[in-house]
Symmetry: D3
Subunit: 280 residues, 6 copies
Amino acid sequence: MNRNIHTFIACDHEYEDSDIVLFGAPFDGTTSYRPGTRFASAAIRNESYGIETYSPYLDMDLLDKKIFDAGDLEFGFGNTERVLNTIEDMTAQILKDNKKPIMIGGEHLVTLGCVRAATKKFPDLHILHFDAHADLRDDYLGEKLSHASVMRRCHDLVGDGRIYQFGIRSGDREEFLWAKEHVFMQKFNLDHLDEAVKNLKDKPVYLTIDLDVLDPSVFPGTGTPEAGGVYFPELIKALNLVFGLNIVAMDMNELSPVYDQSGASTALACKLLRELLLQL
Amino acid sequence: MNRNIHTFIACDHEYEDSDIVLFGAPFDGTTSYRPGTRFASAAIRNESYGIETYSPYLDMDLLDKKIFDAGDLEFGFGNTERVLNTIEDMTAQILKDNKKPIMIGGEHLVTLGCVRAATKKFPDLHILHFDAHADLRDDYLGEKLSHASVMRRCHDLVGDGRIYQFGIRSGDREEFLWAKEHVFMQKFNLDHLDEAVKNLKDKPVYLTIDLDVLDPSVFPGTGTPEAGGVYFPELIKALNLVFGLNIVAMDMNELSPVYDQSGASTALACKLLRELLLQL
Amino acid sequence: MNRNIHTFIACDHEYEDSDIVLFGAPFDGTTSYRPGTRFASAAIRNESYGIETYSPYLDMDLLDKKIFDAGDLEFGFGNTERVLNTIEDMTAQILKDNKKPIMIGGEHLVTLGCVRAATKKFPDLHILHFDAHADLRDDYLGEKLSHASVMRRCHDLVGDGRIYQFGIRSGDREEFLWAKEHVFMQKFNLDHLDEAVKNLKDKPVYLTIDLDVLDPSVFPGTGTPEAGGVYFPELIKALNLVFGLNIVAMDMNELSPVYDQSGASTALACKLLRELLLQL
Amino acid sequence: MNRNIHTFIACDHEYEDSDIVLFGAPFDGTTSYRPGTRFASAAIRNESYGIETYSPYLDMDLLDKKIFDAGDLEFGFGNTERVLNTIEDMTAQILKDNKKPIMIGGEHLVTLGCVRAATKKFPDLHILHFDAHADLRDDYLGEKLSHASVMRRCHDLVGDGRIYQFGIRSGDREEFLWAKEHVFMQKFNLDHLDEAVKNLKDKPVYLTIDLDVLDPSVFPGTGTPEAGGVYFPELIKALNLVFGLNIVAMDMNELSPVYDQSGASTALACKLLRELLLQL
Amino acid sequence: MNRNIHTFIACDHEYEDSDIVLFGAPFDGTTSYRPGTRFASAAIRNESYGIETYSPYLDMDLLDKKIFDAGDLEFGFGNTERVLNTIEDMTAQILKDNKKPIMIGGEHLVTLGCVRAATKKFPDLHILHFDAHADLRDDYLGEKLSHASVMRRCHDLVGDGRIYQFGIRSGDREEFLWAKEHVFMQKFNLDHLDEAVKNLKDKPVYLTIDLDVLDPSVFPGTGTPEAGGVYFPELIKALNLVFGLNIVAMDMNELSPVYDQSGASTALACKLLRELLLQL
Amino acid sequence: MNRNIHTFIACDHEYEDSDIVLFGAPFDGTTSYRPGTRFASAAIRNESYGIETYSPYLDMDLLDKKIFDAGDLEFGFGNTERVLNTIEDMTAQILKDNKKPIMIGGEHLVTLGCVRAATKKFPDLHILHFDAHADLRDDYLGEKLSHASVMRRCHDLVGDGRIYQFGIRSGDREEFLWAKEHVFMQKFNLDHLDEAVKNLKDKPVYLTIDLDVLDPSVFPGTGTPEAGGVYFPELIKALNLVFGLNIVAMDMNELSPVYDQSGASTALACKLLRELLLQL
């Protein structure tokens, strides 16, 4: 009798054989408004059996890929720095073994752990960021390590001109002012992505997708829904552009499954993850 | 004092006087993922009192139509063939009386019962199929009678070139390959419907609408939500095209009301059913 | 220690200093279908702390405005006329003090209380009305004071040609017929709003937004969701047009938070209210 | 083909043949806190097919009774007096035909309509009242016709010493003081019911059961859950005592199905209604 | 890096080393009323990490036991007999290896698969049955293999006097009459369990727990909640009695997690399963 | 016009005049399983208008008490120590002004902030603790400041023999062993509370009520529901005993309103808080 191995659909290869390594980071300890993203990676694995391995968008099949699903990292809540260290260690290990890490959040702060590891291996790292929120605060109610500050902390590591933000439609005034000096920010939509892609050609790119970049109508299952977002086909099309780049690591975050009891948000996240895995 | 007769709004005519006969097929016994469509027909009747009988789209009113609502078929769960027989008998009776049957599912497999009856009366039957899923598997985990095989079973009855599928965006690789040889399949959207309509001119047409053809944002109340679907006004416009054809019977299926606690999915199904009844 | 003052975000100025006065009218006593709008104003205040005070759409910030939040009116249920009187008195007081009232419903009938006060101060009042429903019945099951009759009662006060309706996609046949003679009605969408705006130039305008004008996909949290509605960016754009007018008072109504457990509807209402307050 | 007659399970006899007449009063227009009881009677009919007609408690079967289900009364919202008149007329008709009326609320105020009719036929009417709330306010925020005043209005009709209340655990101080002079009130539980039953021997008795007399753990589906209530077996046992009396009419009210998404509250209400019908 | 093995908490031993083998049977294909038990075993595994491995009731710890969790059986829906065969094969294999099988349903019919295997190895098998429902119908709407007939089918295998039922409070009249002749049935509660235990001394016993034996207040997460059930401490106490017997196999069924969004039902099932595993 | 002051019902006195000061601590940052207690204090204030100010249990009325509601403390998430400092400062201030603090959590760890302040003023502080969980771990996944360690941290401050625990029914083996040496622990129920009360006579007592001490049937709205708990009338009775003591400060925590969509848990918490305030 076999043990009950539980993976995202079709991601059941051996670590050694795999090109891509998937892992979950079920942390939402700095979420200020509505928590719940800690449940995302488990939900995505469970519900992945409701989608197909085959993508009619790409005419590709997960059954043809070699992917290892490492399950979820385990961390206590209450010490943010320790959480980030665990994520960084995991990412560094995968990168060292010349595989591509793909992390499922959790809140957006988990990105910082991956980016720390990635900048060590790729000092010239650039970041491509899809999100409704700028996440550029210097601190949030005094905390430097916060979901609302994550891109600012990433900027501390990569510096000016290396972060490209798309879909941004919420933030305080200071974030929008600061952005003008330090990052590329496309407000409201994904226009001009082709130009960003040109700029990023030949660079090592970290891709981070905060799923709340999507319109709440197609993705209500998130802590801070922001009306006026991007639709699924637009995002799929954008990813086609993006995957011509040298993506060295990536994450998808901010699904909070409990807020969408229809399951449509989790199903969308599963489908998007399939498309990401097929193109990575 | 009058008995409590419970119908879809304004469908309270006598059977003999009616041109259209509505009935429910509350079966979801082969649903592999998330059941619940068995509750659709009751929900649609209950919530139909939240919509108007008048359509501003068509400037027509249900009060001017003669429709009989026969309530729901009753079946035990556990014997799929017996369920299909009950549906076939009901449909055959209505067709024999020269009325138009319209069935509310239930899962999509219920369509097979109607199509069996319809092909007996109309040997040249063609099928127009709106859906997110191809439903063209030869079997599902060994079962030939499955929601995932329903169009393949219909193909067994009508043969090549008689099935026109629109909006398909999910299936396994084999289904998409098989489709190329045997059916017309429009992926992702409703484009080229006008051409299909031209081909179907003068044919007896069975219309089957799996409501998950709609985008989950407008229709989350279904078992397997598939991002990237069709919007309500597109579907309304498509139906305008379709109803120039000789529709001899039809069904609308896969509403699972429990998955959309806002009631918006059920309300949409009610409104769509009104539009269908007005045009049939 | 300070008292726990509870306002819509950043609306914490003194009454005397304020230009705008916000108040809630938590009444849904004539709602015939699904009640719940009585909870809207409390939900909007609570959840307003999940949005930002800054609008990237307008590059304006609520922190720069002077707004007083008076909390909710208190009324017993069961006597509709008394409720309307309470609303009228409140509105009249604010208008008398030369401030702009903005009311959060509640069902749509609450609009009548404000309009009564506004027509007394502005006899030439015109009404701009966004809604899915015509609300033009002369009575509803015998009741003259009903959510389904509110615009007809407003017409009793302002007369022919003074009401402009947009987005209407539901009503009975008589309402649509009556509308042709007495009001301007744009069915289904916001087309021709620019023309209406031209006509309304230099008039005192009352703006009433029934949030169900929005598509249920972006706003499922309402009692009677009507498929085929307006999207958030369209509404935002429409408001840009509208706020060139002389808006003397306004309301936003028909959020029923309990029907959207994702919170996306309430979040949208908060964001829309911010945009309204910034432009008023 | 038969029309779709929709009744509480097994209550499908002709009016003329029946001893008991069931009807729904879907009104919650004076509910001050959380509405929703308007949906109770429809939910009870729908879900009654999940229970059995046979009671192992009584070894009796609904199939052996003659009961007519008249469906729901229809009323507009906004005019409380008119609603009460409709209920009174219905009750009077049933009583005139020498049948026993049993009404499903709706909020508790609907009881007043029945009691008005019953006191006309039975001037010596006594009232047996199970409830968490005293409902003895003289008015509620100025309204004399309110769910919170219903027993006070009944007292206006029947006078001192004729109302027996059980299970009461909530009210304002004045209600409890007033009760001492005018009614029999058993606080918190059903103790001393046997003594009340002795006093009521040979009297015409109206029985009104506000389902919130039950503990919220067994009956969360109600607008104002009050911890510390009665359990189901206690209530069943109490009813055994009660049905030795001359019950001339009765009602069961305050189920608000939407607040208990498990369906357990509605299922309990169905089962309790079966027990009531079997013993009436 | 390790594979993501997913088990009930602490049931992560090798098959060969284990005394007990846990598996899930996610089938609800004959459920006539509200489906959903197919999700129970996955929910129980997921939520088991919210309970402790240590039982203060027994002062025992799962960490000291050797249990293998084989995951869930996989079956298509639509062919009940095939499902039962799969369950029977699994059970037979475990029994052949001299381990104790414990199955998590699914609907109650899954018990039949286990009992078929168990009677082959233990021809003198007796069955101890906790349930709200008798499940003694000869067929349900014509289906012999139905959740409502499962104990009748078991009786076909074990014969008169071998089935002991406790807590039964629902069924049709015929079931209760039939029971008098063929099984021991304790209505409503667990009284006389000690006597049954005496009778069962030295017999091979199959224990089947339909979780709806519990009161819906403590266990609302089930398809057919029946008021008036057993409380958790009573059930725990009963199990203490039972585990003096020679339990050769067992199951726990009818959790339908979706109907209890608080998670309390699933948490209770996890805790109960811990107590069962510790005592088996 | 008055500002919208938002308090627990009837707790609207001035700080200077008040004997009791209520405040919220909306923190759940170390919750390891299901977060959500951060929403408790807001929910309790909102829903307090659904209960009465009068207690029929005590024949006392909140209208006769002088209580100030200070609203909620504000803290960022991510730095547990800073949160505890904020709570400690608030508590110290209230104690310094010779008023009694009563805090609404939040997760149980918030208790530590209050206890730190209370031990400074009352070095002989004893703690009376109602809970399902022992909360006696020395650390949780490496974190010393955790909801699962809170009573252990309190023990660090008060020492052996000063903590009395009641209702405990969950923990790991080590916690139960450690408890034997260092605290008084009553497992499963509230027995022997009278003896504890005798021991605590004349001591300054801190009372902390983790609401999950209640059975999940009466209180499902909590993160970690533990079957087999205490019922509401038992807890009310226990509090009658307790309030003969010298309670110098107290808290009530672990309501997670989102997990009980019926609102019954929040309503119970409101009622319990009323009883606590009346007796403090």
